[in-house]
Amino acid sequence: MLTLGLYMAQRLSAMALAPLVLGHLAVMVYAIQGGLSTAEILGRTQGSIWWFLFYGSFVVAVSIHAAIGLRVIVHEVTRLRGPWLEIFTYGTGIVLLFMGARAVSAVTML
């Protein structure tokens, strides 16, 4: 159940995600190839404003994107609609945002 606004939010967040996902994959490949340990990775990311912005925007975009995506699936599969569907959407988004924020802060802050 998508209106134009939700649609735009989902598609724009997807567009934002595209380079971020590529970036993340690159980091992973680099990390694994280099055989970096957790501490080594964290050593590079923690305290870096750039990594904070990178993963921060990833979390924001993915929360919006996934929450709306799940909303659609839930509506079409369970026929959930009305206020409960809104609660589900915003709830999912907020939970993802919150957990994502915790992860980002863990990885990028001191």
């Binding site: 159940m1 998508l2 209106t3 134009l4 606004g5 735009m8 598609r11 079409e76 026929r79």
Partner: protein
């Protein structure tokens, strides 16, 4: 072709019913509609189905044939036969009235709801608007002009199944045609009409509409066009507000 066809046909009204089997003589030139008609005329007079033009112009005769939506008056049996048999049911995604006849009202209600009615641009006392046939809008609008509102695409689309508000491919394609029609003045109204809860943005590009349209029309692309146009107008409006 000789011998018998093994045909199972949905019998029942409303939600209730079951498939029943019939033996139908096979013929050289025979459409699925002929098979269904033969059953009604020769063995089971109570069988209900719908047809009118019998040449693919009215869109009354669509049914599920071996699980796929088709116009039955122009579906040659040979093309769809599976292991010597056919399974014929009422169109998906619509309420069943009886046996093979579906209630098409929801389909047409959505057609109107999607704004599928041409808003008058001039009166009958004014000259007819000149439109060049190679005008790009006209070329685009022409693509869907053969739609016979048969509901085959509507029956094929799983988004319609999951999302009862979804206007569906045919109605949205009609809106896209109007959007491109040089005679229509208020384009924005058309976009607004397809941007609500059941609007074009719910389409997942499943493409079953385009795959099954018997007239080889392409609602998938038409809907993509609506998405593109509405996204553009969305961004433009935002920019103006800023």
């Amino acid at each position: 072709m000789t011998g018998m066809l093994e045909v199972s046909v949905w019998r029942g009204s409303g939600e209730e019913g079951a498939y029943e089997s019939y033996q139908v003589p096979a013929r050289e030139n025979q459409t699925v509609l002929d098979v269904v008609s033969w059953i009604q005329q020769s063995v089971d007079p109570s069988l209900t189905y719908r047809y009118a033009c019998r040449v693919g112009m009215c869109g009354s005769c669509a049914m599920m044939v071996n699980g796929q939506p088709r116009w039955t008056c122009r579906t040659h049996v040979k093309r769809v036969l599976e292991r010597g048999g056919l399974r014929v049911g009422p169109l998906r995604n619509l309420p069943v009235i009886k046996d093979l006849a579906a209630d098409m009202d929801p389909f047409f209600d959505k057609w109107v709801k999607a704004g599928g009615v041409h808003p008058p641009s001039r009166t009958r006392y004014q000259p007819i608007q000149p439109v060049r046939p190679d005008d790009p809008g006209r070329v685009e609008a022409n693509k869907a002009i053969e739609c016979i509102n048969c509901s085959v695409c509507y029956a094929a689309c799983d988004t319609v199944t999951g999302n009862p508000d979804y206007l569906g491919p045919a109605a949205l394609q009609r809106a896209w045609t109007l959007f491109n029609d040089a005679k229509v003045q208020d384009r924005q109204a058309i976009l607004d009409g397809v941007s609500g809860a059941g609007g074009c943005h719910n389409c997942h590009s499943q493409g079953s509409c385009t795959r099954f349209c018997p007239n080889e029309l392409d609602p998938l692309s038409a809907i993509a066009g609506l998405k593109r146009a509405s996204a553009r107008s969305f961004l433009k409006q935002r920019r103006q507000e800023c």
